[in-house]
Structures are given as C-alpha cells and as structure tokens.
C-alpha cells in the first residue's frame, strides 16, 4: 500500500550561511535546462512565510522544496504521482530523485561556499492521513520497510528511527539517524 504522497528531506549543513533567495533563480534555470527527470513546471516563492516551504520547484511527478519546517533548512522531495508497487519501492524512487537534486546542488558553482547536505539524518513523511495516520501503530507497521530501504542505502544497519511528532493531527514523520555517515557522497543515484 503506497501512500498518497511521500516526502523525504535532506538537511543542509551550515544553514545560516545560505541565501535562500538564490534558489529561486537556480530552480528557474533547472526548468530551462530540464536539469531533473520528469516534467518541471514552475517556481513558487514563499520566503515571506515563517518556517515554510521557502522556494518550491513545482513538477508533475515531484516537487523539490527548499523548506524550513520545524526551523530546519533542507531540501525536500514530494513525490506526487506515484505508481510504485509498494512502500519500499515508493521510498526508493523518492530517495533516488532527491539524491539527484541534492547532488546537483552540491555541485552548483554559484554557491560559495559549496552547499553540503548532511546524510546522518533524513526525515521521511507519508502524506496520507487516511492510511498512514500519525500513530505509534503506523510507526510499528512501516518501521521494517523504512529500515530496509535506509539500510540498503546507507550500507549499514546502524540506522535508528524515531517519530518526530506526537500530535496525531500532524503528518506521519520519521527521523532516521545514521551517525557513522557524514555526507551524501557515498550514495549512488
């Protein structure tokens, strides 16, 4: 059972040094050169909103967002039109696309110093309050799928998972930690 939508977030190192406004022009350029897989449509700028999705690259299959939810700056993929057979495949697809975008950003020469994502923490959200409500039962039900996907990616079984919000109204959100992994460089897209 795949969720309606899936989000995965990589956090940025040294967020205080980053000019969030620069992503607006960069995402426009990504549309020009079709930098990512899938149909890229538009850029939405919400920098005026507190801890919001600051700059969103709107796509058909997925959105890519520089967001500050919970006060933490990072890059989020929102997989919207999903055709994967199961949750693990859905997460793998999302992670693969997010990695592609993150690696492009890390290689982007206009950022000085270069952007760097942390890989020791990843946030995963399932946007489906009907089938994946934010409850301990959901956590228990999906834990093994999340663990399997992340273990395969990290190449280590030292991945810890914990729910982010206790409030049942919020999106089901899990923080994955693998302290031995320092950057996303070892990931393969």
């Amino acid at each position: 059972m795949i969720p309606f939508r899936t989000q995965i977030k990589f956090f940025l190192e040294n967020p205080e040094t980053i000019d969030v406004g620069a992503f607006s022009g960069l995402f426009q350029r990504w549309i020009q050169v079709k930098a990512l897989e899938g149909l890229l449509i538009d850029v939405a700028d919400y920098r005026h909103v507190h801890q919001g999705p600051s700059v969103v690259l709107i796509g058909h299959e997925a959105d890519y967002t520089i967001e500050q939810r919970d006060g933490r700056l990072g890059l989020v993929i929102t997989r919207k039109h999903q055709h994967d057979p199961d949750l693990q495949s859905s997460l793998q697809t999302a992670l693969r696309s997010l990695l592609a975008a993150a690696q492009l950003l890390e290689a982007e020469p206009s950022f000085q110093p270069a952007l760097k994502f942390r890989a020791d923490e990843i946030e995963i959200r399932l946007l489906d309050r009907l089938r994946y409500p934010n409850t301990p039962e959901t956590f228990e039900a999906v834990k093994s799928d999340l663990q399997a996907v992340l273990t395969a990616r990290y190449g280590t079984d030292q991945v810890s998972l914990s729910p982010v919000h206790a409030d049942p109204r919020y999106l089901f959100t899990v923080l994955a930690k693998a302290e031995s992994v320092a950057s996303i460089a070892p990931f393969k897209v």
Partner: protein
C-alpha cells in the same frame, strides 16, 4: 479499522446533500476523462466547484529565454479549452463571512499539506485558496472539507460568490447589530438556489454592520447590505439598506441605493428577486458587460428597482425566507474564557508594538480581538494547526478571515494577551502592523494567475520588507496609509479603494518589455470603500519603492494639520503628482541595467509570454512611442479637467486620448492616416478589430468597444460619473494599445 478511501472513511459525517453533490462532481470528472463531457461544459462545471485554472495550464511557459512546451502526461485530455488535464490548478474554498472554527482550520491544514504545496492563502473575499492542486484529487479534498461543513461549491464561475461580512461583526463598537447570522443565512439560501444558476457573470454579496468603516465594503459589491434599525409601529426593527451594482473590475462602479430600509424578513426574497432579474435581463453573450452593474446602469436604478419589486410579487413563498430568524436572537459565540482586564501582567519584548496595531478592544468589556498578521495572506499548514490550538485555548470557536488577507481571533480575555502574543510569536504570526502601511493587500498576479501582467505579490513582498524596516521612524500619517496591489487592471487586489494603489502593466523599451505598475491615488477605504482612486501614471516595477518613498516623504512633510492623504493629493493636484513621477519613469537600456527587465521575485527575463512577432521595427516603433505619448497627455488633460469640474472637457479629453492611441497603432501599418476621427475608427476597426489583432486573449475586444461606444453615441451632457468612467476606459484602451503594439509589431526579445 483502516479505510482505503475518504468516501468510506467519512461515511455519514458528510451531510447528504453535500455528499451527493460531491459524488456527482466526481462522476463528471470521470466522464470528462472518458471524453463523454464537452470540455466547455466541464470547464464551467469545475469552476462552479471552485477549481480554477492556473498559469501555464495551456502547456506553454516562457522560461526566461524561450517559450517551452510543457508536455503534461495526460496528452490531449483537457479540463477546459486550452487547459490541460494534468496542469496543476487552484482550488478556492468558500468561507461565508470568513467564519471558521478550530476544527475546520485543522482540516484546512490537512488538505493543504496533502493536496497542495502546503500553503493556505487568504483572499480578498475571505476565502482560502490552495494552489498547485491536481483535479483528480479534488473529490477527496471536497469530501474532507464537507465533513466539517465547508464547501467549494460556487466559489468560482458565474455564480453567487462567497458572502463576505465585517470580521468585527458582533464585537464592533459602531455596528447597528451583528450581521453574522444574516450573512450565514444569505450564503446558504443562495448556494445552489435554482434562481442563481443562470447568470452571465459572477455575483458578489457583502454585509456591513455600519456605514463609516470599510470592513464590509458594501459600495464595491454587486449586492450590499448595510445594517440599519428603524422604529416601526413603536417597535425597533432590524433591517438593511440595500445597495446594488457596485464593483471594481476594470471600470469601477459605486453601488446604488436600491432601498434604504428592507426589513430583516425581506432580505432573502429580495435577494432572490434581484437574482431573477439579473438572470433574465443581464448580458449573457458579452462577458465584459455582464456584471449586474452594467444592467443597473443600462436600466437606471429606478427601473431596476421597479423590476425587482415586480419580480418579488411573483415569488412563491419559501419558509427559508424567515425560518432562520428564529435563530438570530439566539445566535451567540462562546468565548474560551471569562473576561479579565489586562492589568499588570508581565509584557514580553515586542508586545507593545503588536498591542498597538493588532489588538481591537471589543465592545464587550474585558475582551479583545487579535489580528493574526499573514504576509501576503499566506500561512503554512503547521501554522494553521498552531493557530487552531491557540484559538481553542484563548478565543473559542469563532475565528474569522479578513478581506485584507489576515485572520482574527475574537473573544480573547485581555489578561491572556501577553501569553497569546508569545505563542503567536513563537509560530511567526505576531508581526505588528495590522491596518498600517506594511499590511499590504495583493492579488496572486503573475505568481499563479493566468491574467497577471506584473508580479503584484513580488512587489507587495518587497514593499513590505522595505517599509517594515522604516516603520519605527515613520510619520504617523504615513504609517496609517493603505497600499493595495493588483497584477492587472482587473482589481482583484482592490487597488481602487487604497490610498496608494498599483496595478500591473507593461511598456516596451527597445526590443524588450519592461514590467510597470500604474499608480492609482486617492481611493477611499473608509465608508465601505467610499470612493475610487484614479490612475496617474505608469512607472517601471523596479522604481515603485522609490516612487512610494518620494510620495510618502512629501506627504509627511507638506500635509496640513488634520489633512488626510486624499485631501493632500487633491490639493497637490494630479499635474504635480505626475511631475513627481517623471524622474522615475525612465528605463535604462537593457545593457546598462538589466534588472529593470525582470520583475520582483522572478529572475526570468520579463515577458507577456504570448507576444507574437510582426513585421515592423525601428523607426515605426519610435513613431508609435511618440504618438502614444500624445494619447497619455490628452488623457491626463482629461483628468485635470475632471478635477476642475469641467466634465465635458474631461469627456472630450478621454475620447481624444483614445483616438490618439488608436491612430498611433494604425500608423504602425498605415502611415498616411489622416487625423480624422471617422477615418481613425474606420481604419482601426478594419486593421485591428475585425482582424482580432487588437484582441486580448482574455478580454477579447472589450477595450476597443469603449472607443466605438463613445464615438458612436457620445453623451450630450457628461456628468462627473460618466466623465470619470470614460477616463477609466480611456486609460485601459491606451494600455491595450501598448500591449497590442508589443504583440504584433516588431520583435521582442524573449517572445
């Protein structure tokens, strides 16, 4: 139990009637997907469900260098003419009188999280809008909203739009009585009513509790109701002064008084009668003249009134006309806490500035209403959850959205104000400045609107940032000014009723287009939108902050004691204001300063997107620029004449301005055109109107009709209203000539 779909999960939480309607719409989506419903029929259907097209849904987008084709996966399947099925769109959610409960706020947050980009946007009609929504997701979205009593039905399309009302209703010091239950009854009586389904255009309704404030904006509405009481047979009776035919749009109209006192038991049948007259006699073919204001103008208010009351006599009595009155006297809101005065509590840093602007002391002692300042009307889903919690804890069940794109927590015990401030601040919702110059209203503009010409939100954000930095040292008179911005001439940002309004347009500079904003001065927000401002001149988008600074500095320096902004502008005179603008109107060459050629908040080279490539360039363009300048000058003379009360001269100035603009356009193709009105009209019609070259993709030939009408049927004795209207029309015609010239003549970089 885990449900597989929302229909099952929500079951009987959805009221039968609403559930049936949503299921019918879901069926229509499926039929359209199978191509069994005509795309035009489906387009109107989805509009009536609040599903609106968004920019780039025609599969074309200018990326800064060239126009790209967006290959939506749905291929040729459309959800309306030139609107691809898979293109994300906007969903408008109706919130009658802006009233939402914490539970409703939570569901709004949920659907924003799951179906859009996580942002809830408050509109100038107290609605919420979600953007980048996919049509196949809308039935579930509607089911979830319906389960908590919210509908999107008739939020767009040729229908009765959201019924708005003062957010202070029931707590205001100056109101005659609380209009909330009346607005609620009106909204649900007209929703889906058989007599409101055959309009040529939309129909907007507003309630206001008093005459002097602007909260309800009765004067700018198709149908406005202003609370009144009257002693009848020794009994103090509630009723309303009823106004019709107001509206902003391209040419603003002040509403006209239909009846100075309609008793409360008559407002619903009267609304029904008005709807029937509008449906029967309103224009249907030409949507540009289809709002009820044109019908009222055409018939005259006396004849319109006669027809409405004649219609009233034919209505079959409906128990709903008065049933709701049984609940009116019972209507009350339950505060979360008892009233306690603010007295001696510790005040956190920043509290005083917030308290000064964002707190309204209710007429009920010990209670205050707290404005939640939403930049550009936006808040995130997590903020909405937090706000719902704060509302439950401190306010109770009654929260309102406002037409100035903020929210209002009512019935807050004053002793809780420091704590509520701290909690709002922790969630980024305690910026001070409500009802000040930083509280800027803006329509979506080029961010998402298909009609947008310039970035109203980009400009509003920039001005907000700059003005917030200056506000500590700002003169109080400047601080209280209202700024409102529209991305085009359609006035969704309500620029006509601001002290300082702007609407987006464009100008050509060499082979490039430059985003501009037309400055509109002298509108009146008070007195329910008491009067409308007039356009003074266009300035490049990037110079608007400088223009604003020049105007406000001079106002602060030169205003007389007690003189308000409108009076100062009148005393200064349009000629002088225009002179002030002149240094800011120059556009440097692209090579010298390319920043002029992009818009606020958008790094792409500016474009109107669909500009064509013609055969002329060079000196002919230069000739056009010179001649169109004459048109602007004649228009300005007309404005001055209007100020002087010389209405015939103003009327003539507007007409001559349109002729000059038309001639400028024709001479790009027929240089020897004589300066003879009949020949200008003849050639303009043949070369630009009949060929549809002049036609705007959305407005069609509307602006040309202004010239034709004036040429063929001049008013014998122009008055202030008619002269003013013709000047407004002339301004739009000139703008349309600029746009047309850019579209059809010469090459534009980036087109």
């Amino acid at each position: 139990m885990v449900y597989q779909n929302w229909k099952e999960a929500l079951g009987d939480q959805i009221p039968d009637e609403r559930g049936l309607e949503v299921e019918t719409f879901a069926g229509q989506i499926e039929l359209r997907r199978q191509n069994k419903v005509d795309e035009k029929v489906f387009a109107e259907t989805r509009l009536r469900w609040g599903i609106y097209g968004q920019r780039y849904d025609n599969g074309q987008r200018f990326d800064g260098h060239q126009t790209q084709t967006l290959n939506y996966p749905s291929g040729d399947l459309t959800k309306g003419p030139n609107t691809y099925w898979d293109a994300p769109g906007m969903l408008r959610i109706k919130i009658p009188y802006g009233g939402v409960s914490p539970r409703q706020m939570e569901v709004l947050a949920e659907v924003a999280d799951e179906y859009s980009d996580g942002i809830l946007h408050v509109t100038t009609r107290q609605d919420f809008q979600l953007h980048f929504v996919h049509i196949e997701d809308t039935p579930d979205l509607m089911r979830r909203l319906a389960a908590v009593g919210i509908t999107t039905q008739e939020a767009c399309g040729n229908t009765v739009r959201n019924v708005t009302a003062c957010p202070l209703a029931g707590i205001c010091h100056d109101e005659q009585f609380d209009v909330t239950p009346y607005a609620d009854a009106m909204a649900y009586f007209l929703l889906g009513h058989g007599d409101t389904q055959d309009f040529g255009r939309k129909f907007k309704t507003a309630f206001s509790g008093c005459h002097q404030h602007a909260c309800g904006l009765v004067n700018i509405h198709d149908f406005g109701l202003l609370a009144r009481t009257k002693e009848i047979d020794g009994v103090l009776t509630r009723g309303f002064a009823v106004y019709v035919g107001g509206g902003l749009g391209t040419i603003p109209h002040q509403a006209k008084l239909l009846n100075e006192f309609v008793t409360e038991d008559e407002i619903l049948p009267l609304a029904q009668s008005i709807a029937r007259v509008f449906a029967r006699l309103g224009e249907k073919k030409n949507r540009n003249r289809a709002r009820i204001k044109f019908l009222v103008d055409q018939l005259g208010i006396d004849e319109f009134r006669r027809l409405v009351y004649e219609e009233r006599e034919t209505l079959t009595p409906d128990p709903r006309w008065t049933d709701y009155l049984n609940d009116v006297s019972e209507y009350k809101e339950t505060p979360a806490k008892l009233p306690v005065s603010l007295n001696g509590q510790a005040r956190p840093a920043g509290f005083e500035a917030w308290y000064e602007t964002n707190v309204y002391h209710q007429r009920q002692p010990g209670y205050s209403a707290v404005y939640v300042n939403l930049p550009l009307g936006d808040l995130t889903a997590p903020q909405m959850f937090q706000l719902a919690d704060i509302a439950r804890k401190y306010a109770g069940d009654s929260v309102r959205t406002t037409v100035e794109q903020n929210m209002l927590l009512r019935w807050v015990s004053e002793a809780d104000l420091p704590q509520i401030y701290s909690e709002l601040k922790a969630n980024g919702m305690a910026d001070p400045g409500i009802n000040t110059i930083v509280d800027i209203t803006s329509c979506p503009g080029t961010d998402t609107c298909k009609l947008g010409i310039a970035s109203s939100r980009g400009l509003a954000g920039e001005l907000r940032d700059q003005l917030t930095a200056k506000i500590p040292t700002m003169s109080p008179a400047v601080k209280e000014l209202k700024i409102k911005i529209s991305g085009c001439f359609n006035s969704c940002g309500q620029h006509h009723v601001a002290d300082i309004g702007f609407f987006g347009n464009s100008r050509r500079a060499g082979n490039y287009l430059v985003p501009h904003f037309q400055l509109v001065l002298g509108g009146k927000w008070k007195d329910n939108g008491g009067s409308y401002g007039l356009a003074i001149g266009a300035v490049p988008s990037k110079r608007v902050p400088d223009v604003l600074e020049a105007i406000t500095n001079r106002y602060a320096k030169e205003r007389l004691e007690g003189e308000n902004f409108q009076a100062w502008v009148t005393r200064l005179g349009k000629k002088e204001v225009r002179t002030m603008l002149e240094p800011y109107t120059q556009v440097p060459d692209h090579d010298v300063d390319p920043s002029y050629y992009t818009d606020w908040g958008d790094t792409r080279e500016y474009s109107l997107g669909d500009i064509g490539v013609g055969e002329c360039a060079g000196e002919v363009v230069s000739l056009f620029s010179m001649e169109i300048a004459k048109a602007e000058s004649r228009h300005f003379d007309g404005l001055l004449a209007l100020d002087e009360g010389k209405f015939a001269k103003a009327d003539d100035g507007a007409y001559r301005a349109m002729l000059s603009a038309a001639r400028a356009l024709v001479r790009t193709r027929y240089l020897d055109l004589p300066d003879d009105p009949n020949r200008i009209i003849e050639e303009f019609r043949a070369r630009f109107y009949d060929t549809k070259l002049f036609f705007d993709p959305f407005a069609g030939g509307k602006f040309a009709q202004f010239l034709f009408d004036r040429h063929e049927t001049p008013i014998t004795t122009p008055d202030a209203d008619s002269a003013r209207r013709l000047l407004e029309e002339a301004q739009l015609f000139i703008e349309a000539c600029y746009t047309c010239e850019a579209r059809v003549n010469g090459s534009i970089i980036g087109s």
